[in-house]
């Protein structure tokens, strides 16, 4: 893919994350260009999910800055970051199981359309209009992700593959500029994995930048434009899929140094 604007949508500068004595991330510099699909890989415990949690505001970094569209966001809470245009999925599916498929996606619209407590309670006309608008845009997303037939099913009744897809749909509902997907293919069979990767491509084709953590190398090599490799909280390599496949340090990190 050709990036006309060589503009970074996300920039992490010298980010340090220490949990007590444990350095989850040390002095990490990391950029994501606008419009690309960037993958983060690395062995277990390399700091990938920690990195996601910092970007999306689950906790602030110990040191360093996170810039989104040129503005610092490292001090913001998760819901404020969501409002700025970053949405995410979770490694272990965090759907609202007691709600329907449609309601899950409707909740994803929360950053864009909101009604006040009083106007919701009294069902004022403006509330009804907004609610109809939310429902319509949620149904559009369900069509896009292919779950429109199941809109009224409880979310926890879906098979895992569809739950993962629904979680992506919910994240899409906020109309983000950057989507962070934490292991979108984990636990999926081959067909489901194919569906998930096509969906990620389709989302990217809409102009949404995608940052993903993934263990399935086939998915990674197929869909990403650029890969960063983390090990022990440090970036050990970065580049195109081909470059990473042939990088000696990456092979060492994954398979051990004796090879």
């Amino acid at each position: 893919m050709n990036f006309v604007e060589e503009e970074n949508i996300l920039e992490l500068n010298r980010v340090v994350m220490a949990f007590g004595g444990l350095m989850a991330l040390s002095n990490l510099n990391f950029q994501v260009k606008k419009g690309m699909i960037k993958a983060i890989i690395g062995p277990n415990g390399a700091g990938k999910t920690t990195l996601f949690n910092i970007i999306t505001g689950s906790f602030p970094p110990t040191e360093g800055s996170v810039m989104f569209k040129g503005l610092p966001i490292e001090h913001l809470k998760a819901h404020k970051i969501a409002e700025r245009g970053i949405s995410r999925t979770f490694q272990t599916v965090e759907l609202f199981g007691n709600m329907t498929v449609l309601e899950n996606v409707m909740l994803g619209c929360h950053t864009r359309v909101r009604s006040s407590f009083l106007s919701s309670g009294f069902q004022l006309p403006q509330f009804r209009r907004k609610e109809a608008q939310v429902k319509e845009s949620a149904m559009k997303i369900l069509k896009f992700i292919g779950l429109v037939d199941k809109f009224n099913d409880p979310a926890d009744s879906l098979p895992l593959g569809e739950q993962k897809i629904l979680e992506i749909g919910r994240a899409l509902a906020s109309e983000p500029e950057l989507m962070c997907l934490d292991e979108p293919a984990a636990g999926l069979n081959e067909t489901e994995t194919y569906v998930a990767s096509s969906l990620i491509r389709a989302i990217n084709a809409k102009g949404i930048t995608v940052l993903l953590v993934e263990h399935d190398m086939k998915v990674i090599m197929n869909i990403s434009d650029e890969i960063a490799v983390l090990n022990y909280g440090q970036k050990i390599a970065e580049g195109s899929p081909q470059e990473i496949q042939n990088n000696r340090r990456v092979i060492e990190a994954y398979l051990g140094s004796e090879i």
Binding site: S58, A82, M99, M106, R114, G121, P154, R170, A171, S174
Partner: protein, 317 residues
């Protein structure tokens, strides 16, 4: 899935409208209308608690305090200063809202059950104030001379009239609460209950919503307290003790806290148990409540409204 049907609401409304007329015809239960006034007053509190605990997952053990603040604000302003009761009810609700923010905000910003601890302590403190500030509250002896309610010259001076007044308030609060549950706010509240990380990643400001619901439930409890004071024309602190807060929890646990109907069923049943059916148990009443709570949590964790679901499950097997 959580749609609250119009037909059950209509049936419920008819039941409430017909209740005094039917019971009036049967001498042995003629006084049930009087008990239903208290049931309605408790419904106001349990509906707010259901939204707070069942839907949002936040525990309060201090709602007797807001109930008391409403009752005492109405009582003091009307009996001691001779003000019109209606603005006093609103003042009570406003005071409760402010206090709810002060009590709730610090504890709801933290993760975990800090609200339960804060409200427990708060309830005990308020109870002590009702007892000790005798110049205002009359101390343990309570206050008399609280006027009844009237509107544009119409006096709510009979049991039946007050019954309808209370249940109009209950219905208004019920519809408002149902609307909230079925709105984006309701979705956000249920989301908070299931997964705070996911809710906040979707842009839900968790502490703001928790505080909002806590304030709403406090305001309803305050309204209930005012209606109680103007009905009995007399209040004393023992009505607003810790045991009442726990009784409220038993009400929503028995009815089922994950469903707004549970709040109403639970409040109704416990009111009739404590005013009528458990009369002969006297002090041993508490043991019955304990047993109810135990049985419900073990066998019907979703309360009585969850029983049809359990029975359906048996038939499917």
């Amino acid at each position: 899935m959580l749609r609250i049907g119009k037909i059950p609401i209509a049936v419920f409304a008819l039941f409430i409208i017909a209740f005094p007329w039917v019971t009036h015809e049967i001498p042995s239960i003629e006084h049930y209308t009087d008990i239903m006034i208290f049931a309605g007053i408790y419904c106001l509190i349990t509906m707010g608690l259901s939204l707070l605990m069942g839907y949002t997952g936040q525990i309060s053990i201090g709602h007797a305090a807001f109930y008391g603040i409403g009752a005492y604000t109405s009582a003091i302003l009307t009996a001691q200063y001779g003000l019109n009761p209606w603005p006093c009810i609103i003042v009570g609700m406003a005071i409760s809202a402010v206090i709810a923010v002060l009590v709730g905000a610090p504890s709801l910003k933290l993760k975990g059950h800090y609200l339960a601890m804060a409200t427990l302590a708060f309830g005990i403190i308020v109870y002590i104030i009702f007892n000790e500030e005798a110049a205002w509250t009359g101390g343990p002896d309570g206050m008399t001379g609280i006027p009844g309610l009237s509107l544009f010259g119409f006096e709510f001076d009979s049991v039946k009239k007050y019954y309808y007044l209370v249940w109009i308030f209950v219905f208004a609060a019920f519809i408002f609460t149902v609307n909230i549950i079925q709105s984006g706010i309701g979705r956000a509240l249920r989301a908070i209950h299931v997964s705070e990380p996911a809710a906040s990643a979707m842009g839900v400001d968790i502490s703001r919503f928790k505080i909002l619901v806590f304030v709403y439930s406090a305001v309803l409890a305050s309204l209930a307290g005012s209606l109680y004071a103007h009905y009995l024309n007399f209040i004393n602190p023992s009505t607003f003790d810790l045991f009442f807060s726990i009784k409220l929890l038993i009400m929503i646990a028995l009815g089922g806290m994950y469903n707004i109907w549970g709040a109403i069923i639970g409040a109704g049943l416990i009111t009739f148990l404590s005013y009528e059916w458990l009369y002969y148990f006297q002090e041993y009443e508490v043991i019955v409540y304990g047993a109810i709570l135990l049985l419900v949590t073990i066998f019907f964790p979703k309360g009585l409204v969850g029983v049809p679901g359990i029975v359906k499950g048996w038939f499917r097997e």
